[in-house]
Amino acid sequence: MDIQQFTDKNPYLPELGTIVETVQETHNIMTFRVVLDGDNRMQDFRFEPGQVGQLSVFGTGEATFVINSPPTRKEYLQFSVMRAGEVTTKLHSLSKGDRIGVRAPLGNYFPYESMQGKDILIVGGGIGMAPLRTLLLFMLDNRDDYGRIQLLYGARSPRDMAFSYELPDWLERKDLETVLTIDNEAEGWEHRVGLIPNVLLEMAPTPQNTVAVTCGPPIMIKFTLQALKKLGFEDNQIITTLEKRMKCGIGLCGRCNIGTSYVCVDGPVFSYEQLRALPNEL
């Protein structure tokens, strides 16, 4: 929580930025690369991998997205947006040069300090890959700090796979072991076919000195947790990042709490051990 700002700054006021690039990731996921206004603002902007931001389309509203570019690469802040509701639909109509409001960084982050020296297993499903991409790139940019890094990334079909332009590099790299999977056979697909938890069991990663980080749709998370438990991972070796409906993003508006914990300020990153201590209201 030390990253958060205890200042008199108005936390509701977005700062302005410009969309410098958009990428159509899949039929319903679009990536926005945003540069914040102001001389040196991008260099001065500090955040940690896993923190989120609220994007504002003035006249429509705000929604929360993880900053999925790592703090080691600050030419722009990247947000990947799946079209689902009002704000995300409006966001998808924006293009290069459009102005946008940003409230960031918000929330906590992946405990990358305590993950140093360990082997890392990343398991991402669908748009759940976005926060994991931040962590992955951050670790690759600090590669010596970590042991073996394994990535299992799955999507419904090849056309649902975001960040496809990066996958060749991830597959090729010698310092990263990447396994890709889709739910059903598809023409031209050369990788695994099968649900993420099943492929994970086949991969059979060992829990010794390993931290597993997972994110994806609730049903995938549920079965991935079961698979990790079956593989011998302890609750404190599993980390996930949550999504909830949020408005303020600063622990006040009362939507995203799970008992006493507010996902917007106490999360979005939780260990499975922490989650199990909270009331069951995901």
């Binding site: 705000e62 408005k247 009331p279």
Partner: protein, 356 residues
């Protein structure tokens, strides 16, 4: 407390006239069937004889307020390009809330740690809070739905008030609770209270005593968590609820809000409005998933927040003033006291006695 003052009923209007020259005075007035806080002007007939229908929540936390205004400008050289500007916000004016019951003024004691002492400071709340003074009237007419004495408050509670008035003889004993309140008592219309101060204290003690034994809700904190997964219990206690949200809008401590944008043409505002956790939409996610899909889940969160989560986070303080508005005004007579008591007495599956 500084020396107590006294003002007769006959002079009360004059005092309010004086005060309303210096600041905005909000006082309870009859409006249709409801008694609500409205700006006082000379001649306004105020109602101090019972609990106002609404607490004075709007004085500090308006039902709807502008967070900021924005304007879009088209670039005349390139109409496809738009720029946006964010405007400054207005500063609140000095305000006196006159005539709330202690249970209404106490609401902000619950707001304060969340809005001014959390990870983030809410600048809108703080500015209004600092600009607002509360002159409350001690309650001598507790009603059936009242249970302030069971949640750490009472009919003469001063928490959240700057001035306390107690009805004695043909007027009010006026006592400063805070320095801010003390500064308000300079008027020559106020006289020394003399032995009336003792009478006021005795009256407050008597009213509290007549309310009977307070109920101890302390064990609800753990018990509500223990029966969190007992959905049968929550379905049962929420069966009557119609999710209308009257309880949340009338509650002095309910502080949840929504943020929306309202635009007309090239300009608009970002607005914060009270929200209602009893609504299905409150936690509905864009994916269609809803962590609180039924009224049982939602009532569980509302009761849990007030009697378990908030106390856990804030030194045991219950986030309820015991004003009973949610009970009196619920169209289905859902009674939060009853729910908490039932929760405390509920047998868990292991047969363990509740809240013992």
């Amino acid at each position: 407390m500084a020396e107590a003052k006294y003002i007769s009923r006959a002079k009360l209007g004059k005092w309010l006239d004086e005060l309303s020259q210096q600041m905005l005075v909000l006082a309870p007035v009859q409006e249709g069937e409801a008694v609500v806080f409205r700006p006082y002007q000379t001649g306004t007939e105020i109602r101090l004889d019972g609990q106002p229908t609404l607490p004075p929540k709007e004085a500090v936390f308006p039902a709807s307020e502008e967070l900021f205004a924005y304007t879009y400008r088209k670039n005349p050289e390139d109409p496809a390009q738009t720029d946006v500007e964010i405007g400054p916000r207005a500063q609140p004016q000095k305000t006196l809330v006159f005539g709330a019951r202690p249970c209404g003024s106490r609401g902000f004691v619950i707001f304060d740690p969340v809005y001014t002492q959390g990870y983030y400071l809410d600048p809108y709340y703080r500015a209004r809070r600092e600009a607002t003074i509360f002159a409350s009237v001690a309650c001598i007419t507790p009603e059936n739905a009242c249970f302030c004495h069971s949640v750490g408050s009472g009919p003469g509670d001063t928490a959240g008030s700057d001035i306390l008035l107690t009805p004695v003889d043909q007027g009010y004993v006026v006592e400063a609770v805070t320095d801010k309140g003390g500064e308000m008592l300079g008027s020559s219309l106020l006289e020394a209270a003399g032995d009336k101060a003792g009478k006021a204290r005795e009256l407050r003690d008597k009213v509290l005593k007549d309310m009977g034994e307070p109920r101890d809700f302390t064990s609800a904190r753990e018990k509500l968590l223990a029966i969190f997964d007992d959905l049968d219990f929550w379905e049962d206690v929420s069966a009557k609820c119609i999710s209308c949200g009257a309880c949340t809008y009338l509650c002095p401590t309910c502080y949840c809000f929504n943020i929306t944008d309202e635009s007309a043409g090239m300009q608009g505002s970002r607005i914060r409005s009270w929200d209602n956790c009893m609504s299905f939409q409150f936690t509905l996610e864009a994916s269609g998933h809803n962590p609180r899909p039924t009224k049982a889940h939602r009532l569980r969160n509302r009761v849990g927040h007030k009697f378990s989560y908030y106390p856990e986070l804030h030194q045991g303080k219950i986030a309820c003033c015991g004003c009973g508005r949610c009970i009196k005004h619920c169209p289905m007579s859902v009674d939060i006291r009853e729910i908490v008591i039932r929760a405390m007495e509920h047998q868990t599956e292991s047969g363990e006695e509740a809240g013992a």
